[in-house]
């Protein structure tokens, strides 16, 4: 399992470097802008003049001049989607990507159990996600002393933990879908679509209270965002981690029992649905 974990990290180093640098530059830039934005005269009045629906969709935008509100609006609200693209993409192709390329066939012919391969790669994904978020967190913590963002390193850390858990949920969901759907692309589209739909639903629920009961069954309802700066909801965090663990166990269970496909060998289509009006293969329509 360790060999596969190391191999996964080695293969993901380009993504870690790319995402890490991008998020670090973004963090440095946003920290340096904090004082300017907080000191703009009449900024709160400007925000208050926005349409109420828009303000409700994005949450408490009036808190933007506080460090917690600033992180929430300029990081936590968007990054669940932006880094979510990374998580969904990696999760969907973690095993099935190699299967579609025909690489997995040879790997699994070596003395590595499917269990070791699965968990080695999944842990590689978890570690890569953690490294990206760690770099991103450092880019907020390190320059914060020179800005008015008077938060401790642990206060900065707290909103990154729910984000980490949320990325695990959707990344592992993509992995599970890749075990059930015929291709990486479909798994990525399905899980990415659910992520975006959940994001929109949460925003709409702030406008339409009738949707509140529905969002309780969605993962992003339990994503704290910038609110975690002041107090982390450990129950929600544990819940998100537990959900991703369940998804991972289901994906592992499925991976244990399925054929490893190679191109042209079948199994790429969804199981055909039986339709009463569909002719059976090999039968001819009566004249």
């Amino acid at each position: 399992m360790f060999a596969e974990f190391k191999h996964t990290l080695r293969r993901m180093r380009g993504q870690m470097i790319g995402w890490g640098i991008g998020l670090a530059l973004y963090g440095l830039m946003m920290v340096s802008f904090f004082d300017t934005i907080a000191d703009i005269a009449g900024f709160e009045e400007l925000i208050a003049s926005y349409p109420q629906e828009l303000l409700a969709f994005f949450g408490d935008m009036m808190a933007i001049t506080t460090p917690a509100g600033y992180i929430d609006i300029y990081y936590c609200t968007y990054m669940q989607i932006i880094i979510g693209i990374f998580a969904v993409g990696v999760g969907a192709s973690l095993l099935v990507g190699d299967e579609e390329k025909g690489i997995l066939d040879l790997v699994l012919a070596h003395p590595v159990s499917r269990t070791a391969l699965f968990w080695g790669r999944w842990l590689g994904f978890v570690a890569a996600t953690a490294v990206i978020l760690l770099v991103s967190w450092l880019s907020w913590v390190i320059p914060s002393g020179r800005s008015g963002m008077e938060l401790t390193w642990i206060e900065f850390l707290r909103p990154f933990l729910p984000l980490f858990a949320e990325l695990l949920v959707f990344g592992t969901l993509a992995l599970l879908f890749s075990m059930l759907l015929p291709s990486v692309r479909m798994a990525g589209m399905a899980s990415g679509g659910l992520l975006v739909a959940n994001y929109l639903l949460i925003g709409l629920a702030n406008i339409n209270k009738d949707l509140e009961s529905a969002i309780k069954f969605t993962p992003l309802h339990y994503y704290q965002g910038g609110d975690a700066v002041t107090e982390l909801n450990w129950g929600w965090l544990a819940g998100l981690l537990a959900v991703s663990a369940v998804f991972a166990l289901l994906a592992w269970w499925r991976f244990q029992r399925r054929d490893i496909r190679v191109g042209g060998e079948g199994g790429w289509r969804l199981p055909s649905l039986w339709l009463p009006f569909r002719r059976r293969a090999g039968t001819k329509r009566e004249a």
């Binding site: 070596h110 003395p111 190679v262 060998e265 079948g266 289509r269 055909s272």
Partner: protein
């Protein structure tokens, strides 16, 4: 220790409505080179992948090295070397990186000196990135990774695919050396000459069914050949047509004749001693023609 290394009984595997293999029975003895012969899509790869638990059979039993691959796949894989028919490697790794990764999956037990020796014999540079390699060089990487841990059992799907004739010969030599060290070699191929050169026994699979398991020599002798004979002057070819196993396919004004010969050539060559021969060419038929010859022979026996 059992003398049977691969023991397959009633193996059946379907992909949806397509029955890839049906009720296959196969026994491969310890220390032999066994050829698995059939056209593309016949079920060779499916059989081989069932032996390594890459796919699960719908029916039948499989035992490899005395083990059930479904119950203990890692134990089977640790003692086997596999070369897939459609070899795909991580394109961004170097050759050495890929081989070291496979070594890590085997618990870093491989003698790296032996890897270098194999690479040298196959004229394979370990430094390039896989995506920059030609098809033939990628195949060499596949051959090296299959052999590098000196496995007890080699499962090779089209091992010489894409290699030039010199390298093909070198690979067959490596297989013979592995056999001499005690390994059993089970290799699938659709190239008759390759099977003829390497295998002691051969199974023929067609449309998912094994139609013959035979000594290679017996299969070759059963195969038809075509012989084109040109004479210095017009002759009466009647005596040639009467040679057992010889059929006249066509003739041109008595100066040349195209014959089909079943079995050994000895009778024909002796008969030709009485003719003024200027040229004599023989040609092996395609695998498909051998299959047809086999089926026709089978039908005749049945009748």
């Amino acid at each position: 220790m059992s003398d049977i290394v691969i023991d397959v009984q009633d193996l059946t595997k379907s992909y949806g409505r397509v029955r890839a293999v049906r009720d296959i029975d196969l026994k491969v003895r310890r220390g032999e080179i066994f050829g698995y012969l059939g056209p593309n899509g016949a079920g060779k790869t499916t059989t081989m992948r069932c032996l390594l638990d890459l796919i699960r059979p719908d029916g039948g039993t499989v035992r490899v090295l005395g083990l059930d691959p479904q119950a203990d796949p890692v134990a089977v894989q640790a003692r086997a070397g596999y070369l897939p028919g459609e070899l795909r490697l991580d394109p961004n790794m170097t050759v050495e990186g890929a081989l070291r990764y496979f070594n890590a999956l085997r618990g870093n037990k491989v003698d790296w000196g032996f890897v270098r020796q194999l690479a040298e014999r196959l004229d394979l540079d370990l430094k390039p990135i896989i995506k920059n390699l030609s098809h033939g060089n990628k195949q060499k990487v596949g051959v090296v990774q299959a052999l590098m841990h000196r496995p007890e059992l080699l499962l090779l799907d089209e091992p010489t695919l894409g290699l030039d004739p010199l390298m093909q010969r070198e690979v067959l030599r490596l297989l013979a050396e592995a056999q001499a060290e005690g390994a059993t070699v089970f290799f699938a191929s659709h190239i008759l000459s390759e099977v003829q050169a390497a295998a002691e026994r051969v199974a023929i699979i067609r449309e998912g069914v094994i139609v013959e398991v035979a000594e290679t020599a017996s299969l070759i002798n059963r195969a038809m050949r075509r012989a084109t004979i040109r004479f210095k002057q017009a002759v009466d070819i009647g005596p040639l047509a009467n040679v057992p196993g010889v059929t006249v396919l066509s003739q041109d004004d008595g100066t040349s004749v195209l014959l089909q010969v079943e079995g050994e050539m000895d009778g024909l060559i002796k008969a030709l001693a009485a003719f003024p021969v200027s040229d004599f060419e023989t040609e092996r038929p395609s695998l498909e023609e051998i299959f047809l010859a086999y089926y026709e022979a089978g039908d005749e026996e049945g009748n």
